[in-house]
C-alpha cells in the first residue's frame, strides 16, 4: 500500500500531460520590453487514449512581454498552466530590429537554460516581426515552426545559406573579430494564405548588431568559402543563348594565408565535383570534344562569381568577417594575428583573396567523357 501511495502521490518528474512542448520561439524587442512568441503543441485536444483522430488545431500560439526573455517566458506558465519544455524547440526567430540589444543578450537565455538544445536553429525575421513569422497564416493547420525549420534545413542542404545554431551564434560572437550571417526569412502572399520565403542572410558585426544583409545570390558563395558546401545547382550560359545546368555534389576548399607587400592575402583552392544535369546546346556541338572543357570553364567561372559576390558584400561597408578569416589567420600565424587583432575589421576589409577553382565532372549522363581535366 505504501508503494502504491508513494507511486501515485510522489510528484517526481513531470507527467507527459502536464507538458507544454514548445516548437518555435520568436523574440521581438520594443520600448525596453521583449515580446516572446511561442508556438506550442496543443496536447489538450479531445483525443482518445488510443490516439484516435482529433479535431482541434495542432498548435497554440502565445505572446508574452517581459524585461528579459526569461521574464517573458515565465508568464507562459501562468497562461497555459503547463510546464514549458524547450528541448523540442526547433527554431528561434529574432527580430531584425533588435538593434538596441545585441544578439548575444538574446542568446544568453538559450545558453543558460539546461533544457534547450544548443542545436536549435536561428533565423532573423526580415520585413516582419518575429511574432508575425510565428503567427503566419499558412495554407493548412500545421506546425509552423516545423515548416520554418524545413525551409532553413533544406536551404542549408542546397548550400544557399549557412546553418546557424545557437552554438554557432555564441561561438561567432564570443570572439571580438568574428561576425555572423544568420538566414533571414520573410512572408510572401500566396493567394489568401501566406508562405515563408528565404531572404538571404542578415550580417551581424563583431558587436552582435546587424550591419547589413546579403541577398540570396550573395549568400550562395558562403558555403564554398567556409568549406561547408553540401549540394548545389548552377546554371551557366555556355554559349550565346545556350545553357548548361549542373549539380555540384562535392566541394572542398583549401586555405592558405600569407602576406605580400605588407598586405594580408588568402588563397582559396576550391575543388568542385559535379554532374551534368542539362546541356542545352545544338546537337552538332555536343559531339565537339572541346565542349567538356568549355563546361568546366563555365562552372569554374560560375563558382568564382558566387564567391566573389559574397566576398565583395562581406568586405564592403555593411559587411563583417562571417567567413572566419580571422580564425584562419589565428591558426596559421598566431603572432601576426595578435598584432592585427584589435584592428581586424579594417584588415579584413582590405584583405585580398586569390581564388583557384578545380572542376571535375563526375557523371555526364548518357555521354561518355574521356578525361577529367583541371581548369
Amino acid at each position: 500500500m505504501c508503494l502504491v501511495s508513494f507511486a501515485s502521490c510522489e510528484k517526481a518528474g513531470t507527467e507527459l500531460s502536464d507538458l507544454m512542448i514548445i516548437q518555435g520561439i520568436g523574440v521581438d524587442y520594443k520600448d525596453g520590453l521583449y515580446t516572446v512568441t511561442v508556438e506550442i503543441l496543443n496536447n489538450e485536444q479531445s483525443g482518445s487514449p488510443n490516439g484516435d483522430s482529433v479535431s482541434e488545431n495542432k498548435t497554440k500560439i502565445y505572446s508574452m512581454q517581459g524585461e528579459t526573455v526569461s521574464d517573458a517566458l515565465r508568464l507562459l506558465t501562468t497562461k497555459s498552466g503547463n510546464l514549458p519544455l524547450f528541448a523540442h524547440n526547433r527554431v528561434v526567430v529574432i527580430n531584425e530590429n533588435l538593434n538596441e540589444k545585441t544578439i548575444a543578450d538574446v542568446l544568453e537565455f538559450f545558453v543558460r537554460n539546461y533544457d534547450s538544445r544548443a542545436s536549435q536553429l536561428l533565423c532573423v525575421s526580415k520585413g516582419k516581426t518575429a511574432e508575425e513569422i510565428i503567427r503566419a497564416k499558412l495554407f493548412k493547420d500545421t506546425v509552423k515552426s516545423e515548416i520554418l525549420e524545413n525551409l532553413l534545413t533544406e536551404s542549408y542542404n542546397r548550400s544557399l545559406v549557412p546553418r546557424v545554431r545557437v552554438i554557432d551564434g555564441v561561438n561567432a560572437l564570443q570572439n571580438k573579430c568574428g561576425g555572423l550571417c544568420i538566414p533571414a526569412v520573410g512572408i510572401m502572399r500566396n493567394g489568401e494564405n501566406e508562405d515563408y520565403e528565404l531572404l538571404g542572410c542578415a550580417v551581424y558585426d563583431e558587436n552582435g548588431i546587424i550591419s547589413g544583409y546579403l541577398s540570396n545570390e550573395e549568400a550562395e558563395g558562403m558555403a564554398f568559402i567556409t568549406d561547408d558546401f553540401r549540394e548545389g545547382f548552377l546554371t551557366q550560359e555556355l554559349y550565346t543563348n545556350e545553357f548548361v545546368s549542373i549539380v555540384i555534389n562535392k566541394s572542398k576548399t583549401k586555405y592558405d594565408v600569407f602576406t605580400e607587400n605588407g598586405r594580408l592575402k588568402y588563397r582559396l583552392t576550391i575543388d568542385v565535383s559535379c554532374d551534368l544535369d542539362e546541356v542545352s546546346v545544338m546537337e552538332k556541338k555536343k559531339s565537339d570534344p572541346e565542349i567538356l572543357r568549355d563546361i568546366k570553364l563555365s562552372v569554374a567561372q560560375g563558382v568564382s562569381q558566387r564567391v566573389e559576390k559574397t566576398l565583395d558584400a562581406l568586405q564592403g561597408p555593411e559587411g563583417a568577417d562571417c567567413i572566419m578569416y580571422y580564425k584562419l589567420l589565428q591558426l596559421e600565424n598566431p603572432r601576426l594575428f595578435k598584432t592585427v587583432e584589435n584592428n581586424w575589421h579594417d584588415v579584413f576589409s582590405s584583405a585580398q583573396t586569390q581564388l583557384r577553382v578545380n572542376v571535375t565532372i563526375r557523371r555526364a549522363g548518357e555521354e561518355i567523357l574521356k578525361d577529367n581535366e583541371t581548369v
Binding site: V111, Y114, R117, I167, N171, Q174, N175, L331, P334
Partner: protein
C-alpha cells in the same frame, strides 16, 4: 577474510573512477577548456601520475616481501595514525566527488527537483556497495567499463560529424609554463592513485605494468574526450559549466536526439564506482586506525555524515568553490600519493622480522 583482487580488475575500477573527473569536468575562468591545449594536458597527467605512484609501488612491493609481518605492521601505532590521515583525505575526496555530482545533477539533470533525498540515496547506495569489498567492485568494473567504453565510443562517432577544425586554437598560446601549470592542476585531480597504497595488501598480479597501461589508457581517453569537446563546441565550451555534457547533448543517432540523458546515466556508473571505492578506502582506513570499530558502524556513520555534509554544501555554491579550490586539490593529492605512502614505507622499515616479533610477544 579480505578479498583479493587482480591488478587488472583494480585498474579497471580506477580507470572508470578517473573518467568521472572528465565527464564532470568543470569549466573554470582561469583554465579555458576551449583551447586546444586541453587535448595535450593529459600528457602531463600521464607523466605526473607515473612519477607520483612510485611511493605507492614501493609500498606494494614491501607488503609482498613482508607477508608474514603484515599483521604486526597493522598493529603499529604509527600506521594507525597514517590510516587515520588516509581516512580523512579520502573523506574529503568523497565529499568533493559528491558535491561536484550534486552540482552536476542540480545544474543539468534535475534543475527543478529537491536533491536532498536523491543524494542521500546515492550516498547510501555507494556506502552499501563498499561492503561488498574490492573483489566485487573490481569484477563489476569490467562490466561497467564495457558499457561506458561502448557508449562513449558511439557518442564520439556521432559527434565526429559535428567536428569543425576552425574551433581549434593555436597550441600553447599562453606559453609552455602556463600549459604545464594547467596540466599539473588537471593531473592533481586524480586522487585514485592514493588508493593503491590503501589496497596494497589485496592486490594480485603485476601492479607496475598495470599502472603504466592505466595511465596511458586514461590519458588517451582524456585526450580523445577533450578533442571532441574542443572540436565540437569551440568557444561555446567556455560558456558551459559542464562542457563534456554539453558536447554530448549535440550527439544524435537518426531519430534519437538529445541522448545526453542516456550517456550521463552511463557516466553515473563511474561516479557510483568511484564513490564506492573511496567509501571502502575510508572504512578500511578507519578500521585500521580503530580496530574495535566495526565496519558496519563506520559505514553507517559515513553515510550519515556524508549526506548531511553534501546537503550543507549543496545549499551554497561558495562552499563548493572552497572544496574544489586549487589549494585543497593539490594538498590532498600530495598527501595521499607522496607523503602518506612515504610514511607507510618508513613504518615498514621499523618493523622487525617476524621471528623477532614473535619472540618479543
Amino acid at each position: 577474510m579480505k578479498q583479493r583482487v587482480s591488478a587488472n580488475q583494480f585498474y579497471f575500477a580506477l580507470y572508470l573512477s578517473v573518467l568521472s573527473t572528465v565527464f564532470m569536468y568543470l569549466s573554470s575562468p582561469d583554465i579555458k577548456v576551449s583551447q586546444t591545449d586541453s587535448i595535450l594536458r593529459p600528457v602531463v597527467f600521464c607523466v605526473l601520475s607515473i612519477v607520483s605512484v612510485i611511493p605507492s609501488m614501493i609500498v606494494v612491493r614491501k607488503h609482498r616481501q613482508l607477508k608474514k609481518e603484515r599483521k604486526y605492521i597493522e598493529k603499529t601505532p604509527f600506521l594507525k595514525i597514517i590510516a587515520l590521515f588516509y581516512g580523512v583525505v579520502f573523506f574529503f575526496s568523497l565529499v568533493k566527488t559528491f558535491a561536484r555530482f550534486d552540482l552536476f545533477v542540480s545544474s543539468e539533470l534535475f534543475p527543478n527537483a529537491d536533491m536532498t533525498l536523491f543524494l542521500a540515496c546515492i550516498v547510501g547506495v555507494c556506502v552499501a556497495l563498499s561492503f561488498l569489498d574490492i573483489g566485487a567492485l573490481g569484477r563489476a568494473s569490467v562490466v561497467f567499463a564495457l558499457v561506458v567504453a561502448s557508449s562513449t565510443a558511439l557518442v564520439m562517432l556521432s559527434l565526429s560529424q559535428e567536428l569543425d577544425f576552425l574551433n581549434f586554437t593555436p597550441l600553447m598560446e599562453n606559453g609552455f609554463g602556463k600549459f604545464l601549470g594547467e596540466g599539473t592542476l588537471f593531473a592533481f585531480q586524480a586522487m585514485e592513485i592514493g588508493l593503491i597504497t590503501v589496497f596494497s595488501t589485496q592486490l594480485e598480479g603485476d601492479v607496475e605494468k598495470g599502472f603504466v597501461v592505466w595511465s596511458v589508457l586514461s590519458s588517451v581517453t582524456f585526450a580523445a574526450i577533450f578533442f571532441f569537446v574542443v572540436g565540437v563546441l569551440g568557444g561555446f565550451a567556455d560558456t558551459q559549466l559542464f562542457p563534456t555534457y554539453t558536447a554530448v547533448s549535440l550527439a544524435s543517432f537518426g531519430l534519437l536526439e538529445r541522448i545526453d540523458a542516456l550517456e550521463t546515466a552511463v557516466w553515473i556508473l563511474c561516479i557510483v564506482l568511484k564513490a564506492a571505492l573511496f567509501s571502502l578506502a575510508i572504512i578500511k582506513s578507519f578500521h585500521i586506525a580503530f580496530p574495535k570499530l566495526s565496519r558496519k558502524i563506520t559505514g553507517t556513520a559515513l553515510f550519515i555524515v556524508c549526506s548531511v555534509l553534501i546537503n550543507f554544501i549543496s545549499s551554497d555554491i561558495e562552499r563548493f568553490s572552497f572544496l574544489s579550490s586549487d589549494f585543497l586539490t593539490v594538498a590532498l593529492f600530495i598527501l595521499s600519493t607522496i607523503i602518506l605512502p612515504v610514511c607507510v614505507i618508513l613504518n615498514m622499515r621499523r618493523v622487525k622480522p617476524v621471528e623477532k616479533l614473535q619472540e618479543d610477544i
